[in-house]
C-alpha cells in the first residue's frame, strides 16, 4: 500500500515543483530543531543555535563532547532552540553553514579547525548571523573563536602516567601535527617528567582526526615498541581499546572512556563545553555578545578530568589532585620548566611546533 501512495504523491510533489509559488509549504526547516516552542520564530526572545560537528556524535569522543554541551544548554534555557548536523567534512561545511544562515539561525558553532576558512567566508557574507569557531585562529566582527586550555588537563594526565609507568615509555597516538596537538603532547610529557625524570614519549601520527581502525593500528604499533601507558589525541576511543586489549594503562581524551578501558583505564582529559556555550548563548540572548577569543582552563571548568579508572592507586589520585589545585590557584605554570616558559598566549596557541625534552623524534613538517 505505502509504495503506491508514496509514488503518486511523489509525482504530485514533483509536479507541483514546476508550478512556483509554493513558498508557503516550505516552512524553512523548522523541523530541524531539536527542541523549542512550536512556531516560535517571531519571538525576538528565542535564540536559534546551530552546532556543526566534523564527526559522528557516536564517536564517543570529540563530537560527542560537543553534543553533551549542546544538550546541556538546550535543557537549561527555554528560550533556546538548537539544531545540529554531524559528520560534516570541511569541504561540505559551506553548504551546511549557508543552510543554517538561510534558516535564520542566530549563531552557528563549528567544532573543527578545518572549518576555519569556510566559516570566515560565510561569516563575511552573512553579517546578520553570528559564528563561533572552535580551535581556530580567525575572528571577525560577527565571528568569535573558542577553545580550552586542555594542556592543563593533559599535564595532570601526564603526572598519572609518569607515576604508573614501569617501562618509562609512554605512547601517544596523535592526529595532525598542528600546534594544538603538539601542545597536548608536550604538556603530557612535562607532567610525566615532573614526577619521573626518565620518562620518554613516543608519538605515532595518524594524520586524521577520526579513523578508528587506523587509530587502533597506531596504538598497536606503539604497544609493539614497548610503551606501557597510552595517550591519544583522536576523536574516538580506539586507542584506549587497543591499550586495554594489550593490558597496559590507557588515558583517553574528550570523553570518559572507562567502558572501553576497563581495568586498564586511568582517566581522560575531557571537555565541559557547556561552560562556554551557556554564557555565550546568554550573551547572545541579552544582546551583549562580542567577538572574542575564549581560552580558559581548569579553573573555569571548561576542561577537566574524567572519573578515575577502577585500578588507579590512591597516591596517583592525590598527587594529581594536589597538582590540580596548584594549577587552578596559579601556583604552577605548566610550561615553567620548559623551553616555552616565556611564551605568550599567541605563541602557545598558534606556533608551537617542536617537542619539549622527553619526546622522541621531531614534529613532522
Amino acid at each position: 500500500m505505502s509504495t503506491g501512495i508514496t509514488r503518486r504523491r511523489a509525482i504530485k510533489a514533483l509536479g507541483l515543483a514546476g508550478a512556483t509559488g509554493l513558498a508557503g509549504c516550505s516552512g524553512s526547516g523548522d523541523a530541524a530543531t531539536d527542541e523549542g516552542e512550536d512556531g516560535g520564530s517571531d519571538g525576538s526572545d528565542t535564540v536559534k543555535a546551530a552546532f556543526v560537528y566534523n564527526s559522528e556524535v557516536g564517536d564517543q569522543g570529540w563530537s560527542w563532547a560537543h553534543e553533551q554541551g549542546r544538550q546541556a544548554v538546550a535543557e537549561e534555557y527555554d528560550w533556546l532552540e538548537t539544531g545540529h548536523t554531524e559528520a560534516v567534512e570541511p569541504s561540505e561545511a559551506k553548504s551546511v553553514f549557508e543552510q543554517y544562515v538561510q534558516d535564520d539561525y542566530d549563531v552557528v558553532f563549528g567544532n573543527t579547525f578545518g572549518y576555519m576558512d569556510t566559516m570566515v567566508s560565510v561569516a563575511e557574507d552573512s553579517p546578520d548571523t553570528l559564528f563561533e569557531h572552535c580551535s581556530g585562529y580567525e575572528t571577525r566582527e560577527n565571528m568569535g573563536r573558542y577553545f580550552g586550555r586542555m594542556y592543563q588537563a593533559r599535564y595532570l594526565a601526564g603526572i598519572a602516567a609518569g607515576m604508573l609507568t614501569e617501562a618509562d615509555t609512554l605512547g601517544y597516538v596523535a592526529a595532525l601535527p598542528i600546534a594544538e596537538v603538539v601542545r597536548g603532547i608536550n604538556a603530557f610529557t612535562l607532567g610525566a617528567r615532573s614526577v619521573n625524570e626518565d620518562v620518554t614519549t613516543k608519538v605515532r601520527w595518524t594524520n586524521t582526526w577520526y579513523d578508528p581502525p587506523k587509530e587502533k593500528e597506531a596504538a598497536t604499533a606503539l604497544v609493539d615498541e614497548g610503551v606501557d601507558v597510552m595517550a591519544q589525541h583522536q576523536d574516538s576511543a580506539a586507542a584506549v581499546q587497543a591499550a586495554a586489549e594489550a593490558d597496559i594503562w590507557a588515558t583517553g581524551y574528550d570523553a570518559p572512556m572507562a567502558e572501553q578501558g576497563g581495568d586498564s583505564y586511568v582517566t581522560s582529559p575531557i571537555w565541559h563545553w557547556e561552560e562556554f556555550y551557556g554564557p555565550t548563548l546568554e550573551a547572545i540572548h541579552d544582546g551583549s555578545w562580542e567577538a572574542d577569543f575564549y581560552w580558559e582552563g581548569l579553573g573555569d571548568g571548561i576542561v577537566g578530568l574524567s572519573d578515575w579508572g577502577p585500578e588507579v592507586p590512591e597516591d596517583v589520585k592525590s598527587s594529581v589532585d594536589d597538582a590540580r589545585s596548584a594549577i587552578e590557584s596559579g601556583d604552577t605554570d605548566v610550561w615553567a620548566d620548559s623551553k616555552f616558559a616565556d611564551a605568550d598566549d599567541e605563541t602557545l596557541f598558534q606556533d608551537m611546533s617542536s617537542y619539549v625534552e622527553g619526546v622522541e623524534g621531531s614534529v613532522p613538517e
Binding site: E56, D211, P212, P213, E217, T220, D224
Partner: protein, 330 residues
C-alpha cells in the same frame, strides 16, 4: 629492533587477511567471466552486518556468517543484472559499491559507539604452542584470529578447486570460452551465478573479518579502499590464488608500514656522499601517503609490462571477462 620487526610482520600478516579473502573471491568471479567492482560495497555491508549481529547476539561466528550472507545478497543483485539482464558489469559493480557505502553510512551511524568482543587471538591446536616460539615470525604467522587461519587455508582450497576439480575447470571454461563450454553441456548462466555469489560471500567475509577480528569495531567507511586494492591484487596476481597470497602479503606489508615507518629512520648519515640527494628521495618514497599508492602502481606496472611484452593473452585474464553471454546472437 627485534620488537619492531616482529611487530611489523605481525601487522603485515594481519593486514593481509582482508586482501586474501577479497582477492580469492574476486578471482573466482572473474575466472567465471564477471568483473565485480562492487567488492568495496560488499565488504562494507559484511562489516556492518557482522558487527551489528555480534553486538546484538554476542556470537562472532554468527556475525561472520551474517556478513558473508549480506555480501552474497549484494552479489546476487550483481549477478542478476550482469548475467540475466546482461547489463554492463562495470556500472553494476560501481553502483553496488555506491549502494553498499551509502547504506552502511546511513544505517551505520547508530552502531559507531558500540563495542564487541570479537574473535580472540589463538594458536593452532597441538603444534601452535611450539610454532609461535619461532623467533620474529612465530608470533606473526602462528598467533592469529580464526578468520586469519581460515583465509590462509582457503588459498590452497581455492587453487585446488579451480585447477583440480571438474567444477573448477568448468568455471575457467566459462570465463575463457563460454560458447564452447555451452555446447559441451556446461550451464554457463548457473556457473556464472555461482562464481559471482561466491565472490560476494568472500567479500562479505573480508568485511566481517575487518570489523570482527582485525579492528573489532565499526566505523563508517572502514574498508578504506581495501576492496579496490583487492581488485588490483587479482590483476597483480594474474588470476592465480597462490600469487594472490604473495601479493596480499606484500600489500599487507605496505599497509602496515604506513603507520610503522614513523619508527624507522632510514636517513643516511649526512656525511655520506650523495646523502643530500638520496635522503629526500628516501623520505618521499617512505612517506605514508606515497606508500599507499604502491599497490596501485605495482598493479598498473604488472598490467602494462605483461600486456606489452606478451600481448593481452599473456596476462592470463579470462578471455570472456566483461562480455555478457547470450545464447542468441542479438
Amino acid at each position: 629492533m627485534v620488537g619492531f620487526t616482529a611487530g611489523l610482520l605481525d601487522a603485515a600478516v594481519r593486514a593481509s587477511t582482508v586482501f586474501i579473502f577479497a582477492a580469492l573471491g574476486e578471482i573466482i568471479s572473474e575466472r567465471g567471466g564477471v568483473l565485480n567492482l562492487g567488492v568495496e560495497g560488499m565488504m562494507l555491508v559484511g562489516a556492518l552486518g557482522g558487527f551489528a549481529t555480534t553486538a546484538v547476539t554476542g556470537n562472532y561466528w554468527l556475525g561472520f556468517l551474517v556478513g558473508m550472507a549480506l555480501g552474497t545478497l549484494l552479489a546476487l543483485v550483481h549477478a542478476f543484472l550482469c548475467i540475466t539482464l546482461k547489463s554492463s558489469q562495470v556500472i553494476s559493480g560501481i553502483m553496488l559499491t555506491l549502494l553498499g557505502t551509502g547504506l552502511t553510512t546511513f544505517f551505520g551511524a547508530a552502531w559507531v559507539d558500540r563495542s564487541i568482543d570479537g574473535f580472540p587471538q589463538m594458536t593452532l591446536p597441538l603444534v601452535g604452542q611450539y610454532l609461535v616460539e619461532i623467533p620474529i615470525v612465530g608470533e606473526a604467522l602462528f598467533r592469529s584470529t580464526a578468520p586469519d587461519f581460515i583465509a590462509l587455508a582457503l588459498v590452497p582450497i581455492v587453487w585446488w578447486f579451480l585447477f583440480r576439480t571438474n567444477l573448477g575447470l568448468e568455471v575457467i571454461a566459462v570465463g575463457e570460452d563460454p560458447e564452447t563450454a555451452d555446447t559441451m553441456g556446461v550451464d554457463v548462466f548457473k556457473m556464472r551465478y555461482l562464481c559471482v555469489l561466491l565472490g560476494g560471500a568472500f567479500a562479505g567475509a573480508a568485511g566481517a573479518h575487518l570489523s570482527l577480528a582485525f579492528s573489532q569495531l565499526w566505523a563508517t567507511g572502514m574498508t578504506a579502499g581495501r576492496g579496490w586494492i583487492a581488485v588490483a591484487l587479482v590483476i597483480f596476481a594474474q588470476w592465480r590464488p597462490e600469487r594472490a597470497l604473495v601479493g596480499a602479503y606484500i600489500f599487507g606489508l605496505l599497509d602496515a608500514l604506513q603507520l610503522r615507518s614513523q619508527g624507522i629512520d632510514l636517513a643516511l648519515d649526512a656525511a655520506t656522499p650523495l646523502a643530500g640527494v638520496v635522503n629526500p628521495v628516501l623520505e618521499l618514497l617512505m612517506h605514508p601517503t606515497i606508500m599507499s599508492t604502491y599497490p596501485y602502481l605495482a598493479t598498473i606496472l604488472v598490467l602494462v609490462v605483461t600486456v606489452v611484452r606478451f600481448d593481452e593473452a599473456g596476462l592470463g585474464a579470462p578471455s570472456a571477462l566483461l562480455e555478457p553471454y547470450s545464447r542468441e546472437t542479438d
